[in-house]
Subunit: 573 residues, 2 copies
Amino acid sequence: MHLLRKFPAATWLRAYDRGSLTSDLLAAAIVTLMLIPQSLAYALLAGLPPEVGLYASILPLVGYALFGSSRTLAVGPVAVVSLMTASAAGGIAAQGSPEYTSVALILAGLSGLFLVGLGLLRLGSLASLLSHPVISGFITASALVIAASQLGPVLGLRAGGDNLVEVVEKLASNVANVHLPTLAVGGLAIALLLWIRHRLGPLLKRRGVRPAVADLVVRAGPVVAVVASIAAVALFGLDAQGVATVGAVPGGLPPLTLPDFDPELWLQLLPAAVLISIVGFVESVSVAQSLAVKRRQRIDPNQELLGLGAANLAASFTGGYPVTGGFARSIVNYEAGAQTPAAGVFTAVLIAVATLLLTPLFRLLPSAVLAATIIVAVIGLVDLHTLVRTWRYDRADFVASAATVVLVLGHSIEAGLVAGVGISIALFLWRTTRPHVAIVGRVPGTEHYRNVRRHEVLTSPRVLAVRIDESLYFANSRYLEDCLTAAITDHPDISDVVLIASAVNAIDASALESLELLVRRLADADVTLHFAEVKGPVMDRLARVGFTEHLGRGRVFRSTHEAMVALDPAMAG
Amino acid sequence: MHLLRKFPAATWLRAYDRGSLTSDLLAAAIVTLMLIPQSLAYALLAGLPPEVGLYASILPLVGYALFGSSRTLAVGPVAVVSLMTASAAGGIAAQGSPEYTSVALILAGLSGLFLVGLGLLRLGSLASLLSHPVISGFITASALVIAASQLGPVLGLRAGGDNLVEVVEKLASNVANVHLPTLAVGGLAIALLLWIRHRLGPLLKRRGVRPAVADLVVRAGPVVAVVASIAAVALFGLDAQGVATVGAVPGGLPPLTLPDFDPELWLQLLPAAVLISIVGFVESVSVAQSLAVKRRQRIDPNQELLGLGAANLAASFTGGYPVTGGFARSIVNYEAGAQTPAAGVFTAVLIAVATLLLTPLFRLLPSAVLAATIIVAVIGLVDLHTLVRTWRYDRADFVASAATVVLVLGHSIEAGLVAGVGISIALFLWRTTRPHVAIVGRVPGTEHYRNVRRHEVLTSPRVLAVRIDESLYFANSRYLEDCLTAAITDHPDISDVVLIASAVNAIDASALESLELLVRRLADADVTLHFAEVKGPVMDRLARVGFTEHLGRGRVFRSTHEAMVALDPAMAG
């Protein structure tokens, strides 16, 4: 049973029927159409030979199908992970060298091991450390870097660099060498792709085409551009005029590979592999969950780690590079009617067939057209709206997001991610360091107690009721000490303080220590500390270490009102 | 006015009278008696010449008196900070070299600048990142390292090392060279000090001495040991028999110094200076606050930063080394009746007089006796009880504390502190990552809603009420997504979910994003998401970004009961 849980394919295979088969086959065919140009393009973005993209779209899909928990997630090369691969591998070897390809295999292998490890330890929640604003900033900035880097092939220039500044500088220094025929091809491809993306859908729908079908046709736009450009190169001999093409792509099935085991190199690549894994996982699980809930299916994030881990291990054994679930691709798979992960297996078979039969055609495919498909795809990921909204909603989140954007654009994707996560954690801690603490009084005629600053309430001259709106832990326990000691020096006549713990979900050892210290300190000043509305689990825990014995004359009351009436009968009225 | 706030001496000086003068002078005299042997001993612990300890007990006390906010804190050299100084300086230069002394000056200067900087930025709460269990583990482990390192002088052996393992190894390898006369002096001193500490107090009290006076006599124990041992050396010529003494201590006032400005060295020492500052600040502010509250006086932690910063800057300008508020010494100052920081100024004057007049006496003071005073002082800091109690109360805190102990004993104090802080933060985040989420139902006959797992409650077949007991932020927003999507797949018949936010004190941008995503996802599954009991400030914030417009058919209810009745009239009964 335990083994079966790790092997979800066992569940859906048992119920597999003719209906599922037809749906899955159709979805696989459509996804394949979309995936072929994407595989080639993203491999080039990663600085790898185009066939590596195809290899990464065969066995990894089978790996995910066997172990993943989503029925419709479509796995393979994606833009951001390709850029991260280029950045990590570029630091070790030169693009085009055998070492570079070998580093990509190691990255896939390490990423696979890391994901499987997290999955077995059920540590999927580690990914939560990437906050939405940081991811959003990261994706936007990466998309800009990717789009800029793809301007090189569109302009017929050599380009490269780890960040936007470097990419733009290199392009600018080369601008005199723009190759006009290439620019014409690339420019036309961009125009065609944008027209398909923004105009073709409404047009088809007006002509009575079913919206779902129209959307699928729009998604297949890159195939149209690829086919048209191959035809144009063949007809007009554009390659002879210097328009760069993908060139000879070796046909045949993926090779069996094994990442080189070089402990020092693995250690050096580990941070990049961890970042690639986490970014890939976060994006993937979010798509998978969005699609699953539409059919009231369940995604198990820890099972997803195993699925994506298996996919990456498969990539490292078959000449691929890091993969994850693709956003647009999974939506196409879902909308085309995929019922089970078998659709992924069929996609893998179709890509394998394409690798065997279609590679001669790619010889004439202009690199500028692949670059154009990337530019049009990633430009849709730029999301300035979220940045503006974050600014309006939460300045701390904005700082984390903006730091990520600036560092990705100006330094490197790794620095951006790490800084974003570090800043979010620091600002979160900073915020909980100074929780909201209110002195409360009784709303006349009720047993409710509200903040004395916001409401007209009755207070006692001798008993101070203080409510704290946060769990008590090390980073705010000293603040609580400061607040309460300040409160009793500001109110010299009080003899009792009631600490209302209705919003305290936990008290850690530091806070416990602080509370005991407060009991003693207040006793030194002839003030007794009482508690009210302590939650059950919190009280159980305090009882375990005999906290109530430290309270001296202090008591624990069920409600604030009970406490106030017991300590100052005048409050009963 | 602003300047005056930064200069608290202005407040108490205005009200200074004859009564305060008498009290402060008496307290200063008693503290001086205690401080002279401590200054010499801690300087030797820090690896510095003994007179540096005296210098660090003169002008730094005046610096604190002018800028600190505590009326009774006694500043000067302390054990843990001395050990940290030895550890940091030992990494740069050899003990006894002029470079070593110069590094100590730089550490004091850097520490002073850092503390003043934090104070001006009002960032005192940064110190909260040191949790109680980490501090407690750190102090216990440091005390063991200090005590072990002082066995060297007591045994007449050369000793040293950055951690307990190294210290013990070095002692063990030297054990054949134990100097018996030194051991006799050191052993007698330890026995005398322990007798004074544990037996003399009760004895005096039985003889009718006032408890406060008896306590002060006990605290002056080290002076007795120092005087007796100087007399013994003089009488029996023990120095001629090879008992090591402090030797010639130059008399005269502290020299004016300026820390060498070497940017590279400063950068290298910065992490150590930061740790020294934070540890010193945390210990000092906790003593200051405990004493202040007894007289209902106030401590301003940011003002304390300025006071301690001034003290350290003063140390760096007058041949000292890092200082902070001492625990035992401040209690003596308080109990001896110190009324204002003028007591600190008088102590400084008396120490200066001692530096002028008494230094010839120290020539005969055995190092073993100073080491004995340190051993007896720090052994009281070893606190295994807290470690055991932390284990019983909170395993996460125990892990942080134990890691600190193990690393301090086995590696270095810096590693222990950094690991302790890192682990506490990681475990805190981990804990808030999986908040308590409960499905609740109505307690029959009331309008209260409680956890369905713990109480016999009424639930609706169509409306699910879910309460989340934590603020929503990036590290748990994905968990919330998982919980709610799982809840609706587990309950296929429900049409509405009510999210009860009574314990949600804040919602950050990630959680906002998650909530909007949940609204859409649940809508895809024909389920409407509603909210109940959202706190006022949280709602204000959500309103600012038009959150309610994203709710679709969802509504925000004031109370859970209101929501349940509105969505399922059958719940009204």
